[in-house]
Subunit: 282 residues, 2 copies
DNA sequence: GGGCGGCGATACCGCCCGGGTATCACTCCT
DNA sequence: AGGAGTGATACCCGGGCGGTATCGCCGCCC
């Protein structure tokens, strides 16, 4: 199988429409139909169910979509990492660290300081991501190492080291009746009728159904909370960067959050190793 | 990057010789040279150092070799798993379990029994591998789930559950002076001058340098020990299948071995989930 | 119910690119 | 100096990929 075929299939599987997929790929529809047809013939499997109203995925198609995404990420990672290795060899060593925007700010600063103090430390580019983007960024080679948060982020397929575990707090508008309580139970927070929990995007960019407002980053979130339109449960490290007008109340029975440092399992980079060493020694 | 290019590069990187690589790929040498040249041009990186006596890998080439192997495994896995998903949908559900030939025999039997007793259990094909082959078999989709042994096997990139931990024993010819000892220290076993430890193949099929005989599986190993040409340190579970003429002596200070069940991180197969459940419940 | 619009498949064509053969350029080694 | 070995280059050919035109099929709707 060629990556071209995989890219074509992923496009069709995501659009569920040959015409739109062809447009997205920048080719005409007929060669796309033929490519998918050939793929199905060689695999001996029907991947798409053609109805008169667009197409749907078969079970085999679902499997191929998942696997093809992983394979294409691996191919892209190969390309990116090779390019970066060439730059490193040419005397511009750099390591790209992915971190969630608005989270672990203090830990991140300490880590960068600690690593910079090591002998042989190289320049660290920090790549700030929206929630949930980091695993993908690490998988497809845009980053070399990442700070992730269990149990929120998907750690599957990475090597990791735990760095820090903390409880979570509810963030409420300062004037809210519950804001003066010394602590809250999880069920109390999820049930506030006028302050729904926000909805975060899934990895594919769509949002789950529900009452809460859609948010993509912590800025939107804090703004919505300050406006009295939502509340949220976040790791307590957020407290150090809490705006005015917001109050954090501990939620002892919420799941504890662990910050981990993660890297692709076959990384041989000394810079990544150095960052991991610095992180675990914090 | 197309998989064709990756396959070409891996062939050259492994053979370190354009002519032989071309032969292995079933093409002529000139198109191979051109393909690699084009790859280097597009990546903007020199991958191979051309000397008059064959070629050597640059640092970027080393990176691409590692990444390309991973990417090609992912592509192959996509192909295999899709084929198997189509068969499953067509009413032939099967799950392929990889196990090291000659190890964990008893555990494997118990696992198969326990899983078969579950409601909805499907047929399990057992794929017996040589030592070190299993991770690759799982990575490229030839197997769905595997029994591996920490710290021997490379668990990087898989989800795992620990099943069982055991000590190791030294296997000696029955008549050997040390065979009557109640236990041995690790240093004593590695230093027996007339019974060297054997050499196992690396993942790429080559052997490390050293005095011991080359072995590829446990049959060869037991035979060599029975002939008085080697000794070995193996998990104590081997005792249940020890031939006559061989003696096992505990080595308390050798590293303990954990049998784990491993599966690709994004597996959605209910059969794999069932096997893992049965295994952890043992 | 027949025309129409939307969608995917098919037919056919042209061109680029991947592969083949022949040959060159360079470097060791004798 | 000559020859063997190795990778690069020159040149040609054919298959495959992509393009346009069109068909077949199914809903829909006036």
């Amino acid at each position: 199988m060629e990556t071209r075929e995989l890219r074509y299939f992923v496009a069709v599987a995501e659009e569920l429409h040959f015409g739109r997929a062809a447009q997205r790929l920048g080719i005409a529809q007929p060669p796309l139909s033929r490519a998918i047809g050939g793929l199905e013939r060689r695999l001996g499997a029907l991947l798409l169910e053609r109805g008169s109203r667009g197409v749907t995925l078969t079970a085999a198609g679902e499997v191929l979509l998942r696997e093809a995404r992983a394979a294409l990420d691996a191919v892209e990672a190969a390309e990116r990492r090779t390019r970066r290795a060439a730059l490193t060899a040419a005397g511009h060593p750099t390591v790209i660290l992915a971190a969630k925007a608005g989270a672990s700010g203090e830990l991140l600063a300490k880590l960068l300081d600690a690593y910079a103090a090591e002998p042989g430390a190289v320049a660290v580019d920090v790549l700030l991501c929206g929630p949930g983007e980091q695993a993908g960024v690490l998988r497809d080679g845009r980053a070399d190492v990442a700070l992730l948060h269990r149990p929120f982020d998907d750690l599957a397929g990475f090597d990791t080291e735990d760095l820090h575990t903390e409880g979570q707090v509810a963030v409420l508008p300062a004037g809210h009746p519950l804001a003066t309580r010394p602590h809250l139970r999880l069920a109390e927070v999820t049930d506030i009728p006028d302050l729904p929990l926000p909805r975060w995007p899934r990895p594919d960019g769509t949002f789950p159904n529900g009452p809460g407002p859609k948010v993509r980053d912590h800025t939107q979130l804090t703004q919505l909370i300050a406006l009295g339109r939502a509340c949220a449960i976040v790791p307590e490290a957020i407290r150090t960067s809490l705006h005015e007008g917001l109050t954090a109340v501990p939620v002892p029975d919420s799941p504890r959050v662990t910050t981990v440092i993660a890297w692709p399992p076959h990384s041989r980079s000394t810079a990544v190793a150095g960052l991991v060493r610095a992180a675990t020694a914090l």
